[in-house]
Amino acid sequence: MESWYFIIDHLLPFAWTHHTFMKNALLAVLLVGPMFGIMGTMVVNNKMAFYSDTIGHSALTGIAIGILLGFQDPLWIMVIFSIFLAVAISLLKYYTTASIDTVIGAVSATMVALGIVILSRGGGFARFSRFLIGDLLSITPREIYLLIFAFAVIVVLWTAMFNKFLLLSVNPILARSRGISVDLVETLFCIIIAVIVTISIQWVGILIINSFLILPAAAARNVSINMRDYHVISVLITLISGIMGLLLSYYWSTATGATIALVAAAFYLLTLLLKPRFA
């Protein structure tokens, strides 16, 4: 971390970079941004926006279970719970005839309600409101190492699996006819999304985590005609809106996650206007 601080002090000698928490937050934005940028493209392609939203909201129950079990830092319980949920949703999808948005909607509502009931016991819900909004500026170097690790895992997985994810997103039967074990790849994708969303939640916040995943990819989709453009633009948008949002939130004294989401939303509106040129 020292070398990162050193680089920032020399490259960006501004008032805001004097604070260590801003240097940490900047690094976190540079890690979370590209990660969500490349995952978001596939989430949008697979029409899984509602799924990732549900995973985000269900983190409430993950936190609640962690607290019930007496953990100070419920992160690991949250991650395990999110994997359980991802597998459960995949199985429900497979075994019920109800439409998938109904299944996911039912799971989402149940998990949010359960989480709130447990966490509000004795009237103490306000303590957990930091999870709703998130606090990027509170990120510690140890947590940044975790992000670096997650980033590396995503790079490896995406290098190995991306083409399979893509064929699956085009059409499952087509994917199966090309020898892809559809159920396995699909479940793996759901688990990856669940884990990354869950570990990012305490810094981004339950309420807006999905906008990080969806907005940049949705914006990039408006102005790209092939997969490379789609990914390059999506990652660029996450990086630019991340850095701009961080700075704006510093000067406006607003919640960082929400400010970043607003900048990303502005990009979305802009690309929506440009879309007719690319259609």
Binding site: T159, F162, N226
Partner: protein, 272 residues
């Protein structure tokens, strides 16, 4: 994989390799959809699957693909290498259900299907050449950079046909591949498929309601309703008294005598 695919495209059909279905059946839940189908399908043959709606034609293709479980056996007899194995199956769906807004180009689809190199990194010139070569087989090389959602129905089906041919399958399955395509596109598609027999070492199974095209291009017709009702050349099947009596409504007015091929193909390899 690419090199072997190209090498195989150049090997002509020997007419001896054979896909065998024995006591093949499909039961989903408590409903028996197909039963007791015995078939030999030789390479170099275009076999048309016809029958009324709900007869189980699509289910048969899905069972061969492994989408739905089946009873009985499915084996491919490879004469050149003297062994039996599971056949490599290519599939052209009736209508590809996909999101037309997705920024996926034709080249993206080919590279994703053929190589492990993640396509968000772009494409190598080798991948580009290879995709162009395969697309030229279906007269679609000009569509390489187009987005999937921007293709017409006929163009998309030709692209999917090219994709199914690479790597070259033992068995090519097509489920009403041109049902929503205009007559010019249909004609083009059938001519391409018909030519494949001469240049590729594969057998083709085609589900179709277009009996004129079937009579013109198919070597063999299988009439299916729950099980195999009748099999032979198009003329034999469409003039069969049983078929006329029980299923006349299926092809009433759909077949024109002068379009029927002369009886140039004998019934070979029928049944087990």
């Amino acid at each position: 994989m690419n090199d072997s695919a190209i090498a195989r495209t150049q090997s002509k059909a020997c007419g001896l390799c054979c896909t065998k279905l024995e006591s093949f059946g499909v039961t989903i839940g408590k409903t028996e959809i197909l039963r007791d189908i015995n078939l030999h399908i030789h390479c170099g043959e275009l076999t048309a699957l016809v029958g009324p709606n709900g007869a189980g034609k699509t289910t048969l293709l899905k069972a061969i693909l492994g989408e739905v479980p089946h009873s009985g056996t499915l084996r491919f007899l490879d004469i050149k290498n003297c062994h039996t194995r599971k056949p490599l199956v290519g599939y052209v769906p009736q209508k590809l259900e996909f999101d037309p807004g997705a920024p996926i180009s034709v080249l993206d689809l080919f590279s994703a299907g053929l190589s492990a190199r993640p396509i968000f990194l772009g494409h190598t010139s080798r991948q580009r050449e290879h995709a162009t070569a395969i697309l030229s087989v279906v007269q679609a090389e000009h569509l390489l950079e187009k987005r999937l959602g921007d293709l017409s129905g006929g163009e998309l089906q030709r692209v999917l046909l090219a994709l199914a041919l690479d790597p070259c399958p033992d068995l090519l399955l097509m489920d009403e591949p041109v049902s929503g395509v205009d007559s010019h596109g249909r004609e083009l598609f059938y001519n391409i498929v018909s030519n494949l027999r001469q240049h590729y070492d594969l057998s083709i199974i085609l589900v179709s309601h277009d009996l004129v095209m079937v009579s013109r291009h198919a070597d063999r017709v299988l009439f299916i309703d729950r099980t195999l009702q009748c099999m032979g050349t198009p003329r034999e099947v469409f003039s069969s008294e049983n078929i006329k009596r029980d299923y006349g409504y299926v092809y009433q007015g759909g077949i024109n005598e002068k379009d029927s091929p002369l009886n140039k193909h004998s019934i070979k390899g029928v049944g087990a």
